[in-house]
């Protein structure tokens, strides 16, 4: 990061050739006296990390290989195994003292082929196709498919009211992604219950299948996949996500003509569990080798896209933390362990396995940081901390602010570091990138490398590396 201010010839401004629409580049810190303070040392170190990441980062190239040469990496798929081997090698290339695989059983759900759906209004000859994706963990319709009248349902409350009219029908949940929230993860948390729980709630009243409006605010028609969870008190019925424009069209058709028939054919199937691996690379701590700082992301992804923002970005963030700290010659005091977790998307088995083994081995885990919200410009971090403890680390925020993070919030870490917190009481945290574009791509076929910006990706890695440096130097908050 350059510290000098550039002098721009006045002629350029007076002729209006360009506008000086910039924040002043912040001086990293001010030497308040002749001694170099700890704060200044930290800001200089983070400045070196910044130069290293913005000039020499491998994050973008690593992501290219993972997404463009391997692609989507559903648990149990051949791509998953290729990704594990890629991850191990990438960690060694980044400078890990050692890299290894930690075995765990994972669910093995397969899509089984092209999903198909269409609808027809009573009395109309026209069969209108829809773009759908069967939901993860769902069962298929069988070769014949399912054809049944569809019921438009806007909420679980409405399902309850219409419960007498559900039997033998296909339920179409058209719950809207709420645009009012600034943070889109709020809208997601609000809407995702229809995807996760909708099938069993409809099956309870005799529905034969469900369609779910994609959990997204995107302007296109790509359906967004994701997992459901069956409640085994009720029959397992097929379930699929439907693209937003197709959902709008279908809802309109039902409002205009209450008798609309939907045809659905999905080939999804849950196979027996298979083996997968957490991919782990570490640097042994110089002062406290037995105290572990975990930096993680999940290696698996849904199948329609390349798993680029979710969560290839997080994987290359985590690897870059290790690479950048090595590259600037930093010797960590604690053991820093990068973990590419197996099976976040439809089981969280990798995260559970990692925490259980840590618990069984009585490992000391002082901090765990996750990146699973995309490779967008960093806005802050969330921590599993009390307000008081969060306040204690506020001075760190001033060191990070020049690079994007502007807020420390209370909240969880991500899903993959959750079990460490539950089993071992580890303080967990998560990178919070700008959330506006995340659900344009999330679990959809456009979650591809081309939709990741190199600079935004790098700033996320840089912010994480800087935070890990502070945690390593000053101890876990």
């Amino acid at each position: 990061m350059h510290r000098l201010l550039l002098t721009v010839p006045f002629v350029l401004f007076s002729q209006g050739v360009f506008s000086q629409s910039v924040f002043s580049q912040r001086a990293l810190s001010r030497q308040e006296d002749s001694l170099i303070s700890a704060r200044e040392e930290d800001s200089l170190f983070i400045g070196r990390l910044s130069d290293e990441v913005l000039v020499n980062s491998k994050a973008y190239e690593n992501l290219r290989v993972l997404t463009r040469t391997i692609g989507g990496r559903l648990s149990g798929s051949p791509q998953m195994y290729r990704a594990e081997e890629w991850g191990r090698q990438a960690l060694l290339d980044a400078g890990a003292d050692r890299a290894y695989l930690q075995e765990c059983a994972v669910p093995h759900w397969i899509r089984g082929g092209q999903d198909e759906a269409s609808w027809r209004a009573a009395g109309s000859p026209e069969e209108i196709t829809m773009d759908i994706l069967s939901l993860g963990n769902s069962k298929g319709t069988g070769q014949e498919g399912i054809s049944a009248p569809v019921v438009l349902i806007s909420s679980f409350e409405e399902l309850q009211e219409k419960r007498a009219a559900i039997k033998g029908k296909i339920v179409f949940y058209n719950y809207q992604f709420d645009p009012h929230f600034i943070e889109t993860f709020r809208s997601y948390s609000d809407a995702v219950r229809y995807r996760v729980l909708g099938a069993s709630k409809a099956a309870r009243y005799g529905a034969v299948a469900v369609l779910v409006r994609s959990i997204s605010q995107s302007v296109d028609n790509n359906p967004h996949a994701g997992a459901l969870v069956y409640d085994d008190s009720f029959p397992r019925i097929p379930a699929a996500a439907i693209g937003l424009r197709d959902a709008d069209r279908l809802a309109l058709a039902i409002r205009q003509n209450p008798t609309v028939n939907v045809y659905l054919r999905t080939r999804a199937k849950m196979l027996p569990d298979t083996l997968a691996h957490n991919v782990i690379g570490e640097i042994t701590g110089a002062d406290f080798p037995g105290q572990i700082i975990t930096v993680g992301a999940h290696l698996d992804s849904w199948d329609p896209g390349e798993g680029a923002q979710d969560d290839g970005a997080g994987c290359v963030h985590a690897i870059e933390v290790l690479r950048a700290l090595r590259a600037v010659g930093y010797r960590p005091r604690h053991t820093i362990r990068i973990v590419l977790f197996a099976n976040e998307e439809n089981g969280l088995r990798g995260a559970s396995r990692y925490a259980q083994e840590a618990f069984a081995k009585r490992e000391q885990h002082i901090f765990a940081l996750e990146s699973d919200a995309g490779g967008f410009t960093p806005r802050g971090f969330s921590f599993s901390l009390s307000p008081q403890k969060l306040k204690a680390i506020t001075p760190w925020l001033e060191l990070l602010r020049p690079y994007g993070p502007g807020e420390f919030a209370r909240g969880g870490g991500g899903a993959d570091v959750g079990p460490l917190n539950e089993l071992l009481g580890t303080t967990i945290a998560e990178l919070v990138p700008d959330s506006q574009r995340y659900f344009d791509y999330h679990h959809a076929r456009n979650d591809v490398f081309a939709n990741v910006n190199k600079r935004e990706l790098e700033l996320g890695a840089l912010s994480m590396a800087a935070l890990i440096y502070l945690v390593d130097k000053y101890g876990a908050p």
Copy 2:
């Protein structure tokens, strides 16, 4: 903006179906006593603006029409006139009391056809084409084109050193967009002098044309256009921007074989000045009709793309400020004037005309806000204020922070409000969006509607509307 926190069933977390990776939605303010404080009133009002913009905004649809049905809008082009008429109608539709055009003369530069360039190393039969765009205001090569040996120049210092070897040559400025800066506008300000001044500096030593590495850090090969300024002490020579990958390849070829010939044909031409218009819409102030708050952006754009981020986004931001304030029933105390400026890109004539007329009419301009850095998530605002005055408005920042802006910085407004500050001493400001992607698109053929995110665009408009509300209510800072 919703204020309730959603309860998510524990089963979803424990099964790791999704991660709660969100900032807590901030409560907008807390009722500290039984009276509603001014601060609370402001936060509630801005919450209403937020709901209005995020649910009912016309910004994205306005941008679609401007970019997809009109397209690039170079000064003097037929599209410019269509855009003026579009802007006037859009302002009326948004609720302006009146909308009108303010005439001004503008330069009329035309590209004149397809730009062509290629290179060949001495002794090689292979002619390698390059993707180029002739620079705005430049003259063309003539029908024959120019063929000459090329000299690789990395900086003006190197040009000075090699001045004896420039005569009769084509100078290729390969100055790199500096990746060290966090704010990319810094890198732009650093590099843009090669585009603006490079032709005349090379002509001084007898160069016959210049190629300039595009002022961008993008990962593609799209050349980035933009204006140059000739110094008429020296001959006017043709000049073109070259795509980054082609620049890398050409530089490598020259390093490997010092004798490389470049062929260049551009058809650019500066025609006599023509007429254009600032498009103005306003709401008369209820308390101070003679005191004007200007909200502006520029309507013209370069021709290769659709002028979406630069500066269609700013235009629809400004229009949305008026629409949203109207839609929530706000009655401004001061006159609020939305200005879509003519000819920012290669002359700034619209901005000069606007300020000159204001000066001649002795209008009282208390504040002017510009948006000309793209429709990305807002990060803050910059103001032409002393540190002391900037500090005085810091409490406003807390009201804006929930919607993205996290910083008030010192700096200029944009280019188009600059003349108001110079001539009338008006306080000027500019929206500062996240800058990481701006120079991927800036002046290039991929500056299109598809590369603008609806939510990011809306948050920029919302932030501007909220700031204008505060300025209108409390007076200019």
